[in-house]
């Protein structure tokens, strides 16, 4: 037993050592490590296309955006990641604040409009997604959908609406609401929604499921969840309602940045360049129905044009703003 223990541990460790990522010199990297907070279902095919095109092998860690951001914050300089692909601007802002991102060169930043990238060129948006109301088509008519998200506090929606207060995109929307309409309107609206029996869910996918089942009739979510569900279940009784020029239809970005700790900066930039290339942007637009962030690619014809949606001048990666939102949500009793 005494002698067996170290031998057994050593043999396990050596068996696993083969799994480590080999470090290759900067000149000709064979592989890149990507931390992806966006799920494999959504970005896998596009990353595969990059591998084929570039000959660079991608080692991808798929996990939750916030947990990956926390992981990188703990890893600091020791991070094995070369590129971080995040679901929302808040997570990118957290890494930016700690100075963990490489400053991006002009050829990359100039392709993305200023409103979709970091002010300090730490990261760029990769896709845009609109906040929408998903509604049950058997119980609600398109014509009954409100013009503004603020109307959801009315009696006709009592007990019929669902939201996800812990979700990053929802919190971004509340930040925008505070900035655009002011603190007191935001607080009143949140309290009004709560008083109107709005039901909390853990995440967007759970809301869309609940709307489809008729458990609730309207949900505040990002637009592409319904698109995903419809691929598997075209008969789902639900549709998206887009807001025109209302803060309820805020466009959030998913984005990416290259880590300062990376020893393969050039290859990582190449990948980022690919993600905002016309080829990849078209894939995001037509296969996943997300909004392209570059002006040379059009959004899917099934979506309303990007310029009809609300894009208030709010820096969604500003963590201090996010902190104010979290405090407000806590005070109202939603967190």
């Amino acid at each position: 037993m005494k002698r067996l223990l170290p031998i057994a541990i050593a043999s396990i460790l050596s068996a696993c050592a083969g799994q480590t990522v080999p470090t290759t010199p900067e000149e000709k990297p064979q592989s890149l490590t990507v931390y992806s907070g966006r799920s494999e279902e959504l970005v896998g095919p596009i990353l595969e296309a990059f591998e084929k095109k570039s000959g660079i092998d991608l080692k991808i860690k798929y996990a939750d955006t916030a947990e990956l951001a926390s992981t990188i914050l703990e890893e600091k300089d020791g991070s094995p990641a070369d590129l971080f692909l995040a679901q929302d601007a808040g997570a990118l802002g957290a890494l930016q604040k700690e100075g963990l991102f490489e400053k991006l060169p002009a050829p990359i930043t100039s392709r993305v409009p200023a409103k979709f990238r970091s002010a300090s060129d730490s990261w760029v948006g990769v896709t845009g997604r609109a906040r929408v109301l998903v509604y049950n088509t058997q119980r609600q008519k398109a014509s009954d959908m409100p013009r503004s998200v603020l109307e959801l506090t009315q009696a006709q929606y009592k007990g019929k609406v669902g939201w996800a207060p812990t979700n990053g995109s929802f919190q971004s929307f509340v930040t925008a609401l505070r900035k655009v309409k002011g603190e007191s309107v935001a607080r009143q609206w949140l309290e009004g929604m709560k008083a109107n029996g709005t039901k909390s869910y853990e995440k967007n996918s759970a809301i869309v499921k609940a709307v489809g089942a008729g458990e609730i009739e309207i949900g505040l979510v990002n637009h592409y969840y319904l698109v995903e569900i419809k691929k598997e279940d075209p008969s789902i009784k639900a549709a998206n309602h887009f807001f025109e020029g209302d803060v309820g239809g805020l466009v959030n970005v998913s984005g990416a940045g290259v880590l300062k700790s990376s020893k393969k900066t050039q290859a990582a930039l190449k990948l980022l360049e690919y993600l905002i290339s016309d080829e990849a942007q078209e894939k995001f637009a037509n296969a996943e129905f997300e909004y392209p962030v570059v002006e040379t690619v059009q959004a899917s014809s099934e979506l309303p044009a990007l310029d009809t949606l609300s894009q208030p001048d709010v820096d969604l990666s500003d963590l201090d703003d996010l902190k104010g939102t979290l405090e407000l949500l806590q005070e109202v009793g939603l967190l």
Binding site: M1, A8, E74, P234, L319
Partner: protein, 543 residues
């Protein structure tokens, strides 16, 4: 079997090697605590006071009430299922034993989605009842939903541990009681139940602490507990300080629960004292209770195994019809699951055996502290343990960071108590005089442990291995953070697909997870039956 005080072994000198390996293993398991203190201190006294007064007090009651409720119901189901499948003439006992252990591998977030889909206010059940005028079922969200889901996926922890103990019980006491005219029920209550106390306590502790660290079920059922608050801290604001403080409170609660549990399981010994070898257990004749017993097993199996399978199959069929399903992808993930679970289980067993031996055989400050320390990480949410290893891994062992080895080490921190509990429950049934006899006959301590104690503790080793293996199969947060990039398991595939709202794509690896898990369970049952073959039918309700 005697209820004598355990004074004989408590005065015994603890072998240095055993004490040392126990202390080392226990020391490793408190690594996350060091990290949490480092992060918590950064909050400053004002921040600490704020978190402790505003959040912690609110969450303590909610978390503990759910924990106790789930523990009580899991112990009831688990003990019942263990007894029926090991000590009665229930038809197809082995089949039921495998089937009823299966919920162990249902990840709690999958169970959450499944129960909402089936029993939610407007779920499948409501659709069937609609013709009878049921417009909406009572809400599943909140305490009741979390309680139901957690009970159905945690009772096997009690079942597996208690079953191992039942198989190792000395039947001679029961035989004696029967000769003295005791009825079956009297024997069960007065002879069997008291002897099961250590294993019931071990199983109950595993359940209680599982509830403390669960995130999937409580979040989908929207019931606020410590774990959910910890996740929310990371989610919204990347607030690692607040998460650390809440985690420390959670560990404190867990250790209090552990000491309370330890206090009640003490004072008696549970091994047989007569000479001769282990006998086959005594089988109860169910008689007119046979049909109700089969019905009860069926109801549990339908809720905890058939329902998840049915809902997953439904999602799969819907997606297949739409032509949106790729069924080939989960096979690499299946291999990943086996590799991760196998390595993790091996490491856990190696580390658990000396600890189990130490705490089962000896008394004193070293065994007590080591026995408690292993529970400290077990109550922590996976994400917290994972981040502590990110912190230390990148700084102290970068060569090992994000390898399967590191992942296995995380599993060790997370699940060691499951192995220790099961092995310990078997070891307390081994009479120390057998070990001493081996020493007297000239065996070295190591040889005596290897040739005498290990084989006698086989039910516990096998049960512990199965528990850990199956729990790792469904582990999610630590796997996501610590696995090598590009490495996926069935659990991570299920999670990734549900996060993208692709429920059909989630169903394929979920079903595969259930099917693959039946393999180690079946193997466990086969191992178990080797010893009792041919003896079982002979002693059914004679005497």
């Amino acid at each position: 079997m005697s209820f004598s005080r355990k004074s004989d072994s408590s005065r015994e000198h603890i072998p240095v090697a055993l004490a040392a390996s126990g202390v080392i293993v226990a020391g490793l398991t408190v690594i996350p605590i060091v990290y949490l203190v480092l992060r918590g201190v950064e909050m400053g006294s004002a921040g600490i006071a704020d978190v402790l007064t505003s959040d912690a007090t609110r969450l303590v009651l909610r978390t503990l009430s759910l924990g106790f409720a789930v523990t009580v119901s899991s112990v009831t189901l688990g003990v019942g299922a263990a007894w029926l499948t090991s000590r009665t003439d229930l038809p197809r006992r082995k089949f039921w034993a495998v089937l009823l252990s299966l919920p162990l591998v249902v990840p709690s977030y999958l169970a959450g989605f499944v129960f909402i889909a089936a029993l939610g206010p407007r779920g499948a059940l409501q659709k069937w009842l609609e013709p009878f005028g049921v417009a909406e079922l009572p809400s599943i969200y909140g305490f009741q939903g979390a309680w139901l889901v957690l009970t159905l996926i945690t009772y096997p922890y009690v079942m597996v541990t208690v079953r191992a103990a039942l198989m190792g019980l000395d039947p001679s006491l029961e035989e004696a009681a029967a000769t003295l005219g005791d009825s079956g029920r009297a024997r069960a209550l007065r002879i069997v139940l008291p002897q099961l106390r250590p294993s019931i306590m071990a199983g109950a502790l595993l359940v209680m602490l599982y509830v403390l660290h669960d995130f999937g079920a409580v979040s989908l059922m929207r019931y606020d507990t410590f774990t959910r608050a910890i996740y929310t801290s990371y989610q919204g604001s990347f607030d690692r300080g607040r998460a650390a403080l809440l985690s420390l409170v959670l560990v404190t609660i867990a250790l209090l629960v552990v000491s309370l549990g330890a206090r009640s399981g003490r004072r008696t010994s549970y091994h047989r004292v007569h000479s001769g070898s282990r006998k086959a257990p005594y089988y109860e004749c169910l008689g007119r209770w046979k049909i109700p017993a089969v019905l009860a097993c069926t109801v549990i199996a339908v809720l905890s195994v058939a329902l998840p399978l049915a809902v997953c199959s439904y999602w799969m069929v819907v997606a297949l019809r739409a032509g949106a399903l790729d069924v080939s992808s989960p096979f690499a993930a299946g291999w990943g699951s086996f590799l991760a679970s196998g390595t993790g289980t091996a490491l856990c067993l190696i580390a658990a055996f000396p600890l189990a031996l130490l705490t089962a055989r000896y008394r004193g400050i070293v065994p007590t502290l080591a026995g408690r320390a292993v529970f400290s990480s077990y109550a922590l949410p996976g994400v917290v343990v994972a981040l502590s290893l990110v912190f230390f891994g990148t700084r102290a062992a970068p060569w090992m960071y994000q390898t399967v080895g590191m992942l296995a080490f995380a599993y060790l921190l997370l699940f060691l108590p499951q192995a220790v509990g099961a092995i310990r429950a078997s070891l307390v049934q081994v009479n120390p005089s057998i070990f001493e006899a081996a020493l007297t006959l000239g065996r070295s301590r190591t040889a005596a442990i290897g040739t005498v104690v290990l084989p006698l503790a086989r039910p516990g080793l096998v049960g512990g291995a199965a528990l850990v293996f199956l729990t790792i199969m469904k582990e999610l947060p630590a796997t996501l953070i610590l696995a090598p990039p590009g490495f996926s398991t069935l659990a991570t595939r299920v999670w990734g697909a549900t996060a993208a709202a692709s429920f059909g794509a989630a169903a394929v690896p979920a079903v595969l997870l259930l099917l693959l898990s039946a393999v180690p369970l079946g193997a466990m049952m086969a191992l178990e039956s080797r010893g009792e073959a041919g003896r079982s039918s002979a002693r059914r309700g004679i005497l």
